[in-house]
Symmetry: C2
Subunit: 208 residues, 2 copies
DNA sequence: ACAAAAGTGTTGTATATACACCCATGA
DNA sequence: TCATGGGTGTATATACAACACTTTTGT
């Protein structure tokens, strides 16, 4: 038991984990085993331990669910409305994470874990629907003024693959020549010299 | 006394309150009366009560220090490093607020409260230096892609006054004609018909 | 030889920037 | 009448958007 002179809320982190699979933007949800909202889908997350920072807590949760370290992780927003959680007052610091899908180790205990596209998302526990929406907006906005989408790519990739990522997230076609002009102007990419074979047609170059 | 099965951190809000006075961007600091960092300057803030939301808590603090309601308030970031506070684990949700200086009622008990320009800021308690820096960066960034600076204006103002606000925050001269072109294109401003007298020269028009 | 994706420049359009003079008022 | 800030337009540069054909490879 832990006692305090004044009441303390509980503090948690929840993570919106995005990846790209099958040419679609997907996010990770877990089916709740525990008490409130049991059996319902929710964002991965959990309470912050006293001996870890907020970001450490988020990283721990992330690794527990996906087996991945060293991913792009960004604090999203903090939610603290009164009745978010029926048990007690819980404040959650929401993070969002982007992962290249080939880095993900699917966990063994992962029966109640699945990836959902944005329009497949079921009813979520707590206020997680709101959090997911905010994360998606942030991601969309950042595509325009940052190179955040690179986080979805693996070590080596072709420009066409990168363009596909943009088209998938933006849900729109992008002009190939303008796109390549823009990407190359960033000077964040260099050629590997390697050439992609397979898939029955002309091969490509490149990497970041 | 309040007891919990698991340890809970304390949760606070801190607010970076900006205003413009004497042609300078200033922020509000209070001199700590209480135990940790006693006598040192710090951001206004305090613990979140269980019966209020985070934003409500921030608004309450804001009103306590400035006597102002209905101001621009935006969640900035949440800080939760381990040793931010020597007393116990404290997580703080930082907000930033913008106020038109003529709306501020200086509080009677305000002896240990003062406004500081960005380069006058003394050593601050906790990690408040970091929070102030983040708030200032956010404010600067938002000038470019939003109309956030309007929050510093009172009901009626002239275009020259608004331009002064931009020049003050950006620390740079702005072209008068281009500025007016941009502002009027926003269509967020309308003329009042009123005309400003005093100050010994040609009078101006306008309002938002 | 053909299907499929890779690769490559130019032109027009919109947006942002630079710049100088006359006007109205209070003292 | 003069000092002071208010008010106004145009020309240029820069960034963004539209657009079509040739090349390479695997089957």
């Amino acid at each position: 038991m832990y006692t305090y002179e004044y009441p303390h809320p509980a503090v948690a982190t929840d993570i919106v984990i995005f990846t790209l699979r099958d040419q679609q933007l997907k996010l990770l949800l877990i089916k709740r085993r525990g008490k409130p909202f049991k059996g319902q889908w929710a964002l991965p997350g959990g309470f912050v331990r006293l001996e870890e920072s907020l970001e450490t807590a988020a990283k721990r949760e992330l690794e527990e669910e996906t087996g991945v370290r060293d991913v792009y992780l960004e604090q999203l927003y903090t939610y603290g409305n009164l009745n978010r959680d029926p048990r007690e007052r819980v404040i959650t610091i929401a993070y969002f994470a982007l992962i290249a899908s080939d880095k993900i180790e699917v966990r063994a205990d992962a029966e109640a874990v699945d990836w959902f596209t944005m329009d497949e998302i079921p009813d979520l526990a707590f206020d997680h629907q709101k959090i997911v929406k905010a994360a998606h907006q942030r991601l969309s906005a950042k595509l325009d003024y940052s190179t955040i989408a690179f986080q979805f790519m693996s070590e080596k990739f072709t420009l066409s693959e990168l363009q596909n990522v943009y088209e998938t997230i933006l849900q729109a076609k992008v002009d190939k020549r303008n796109f390549r002009k823009w990407v190359l102007a960033l000077e964040r990419i260099e050629e590997t010299g390697e050439i992609k074979s397979a898939e029955s047609h002309r091969p490509a170059k490149f990497r970041p």
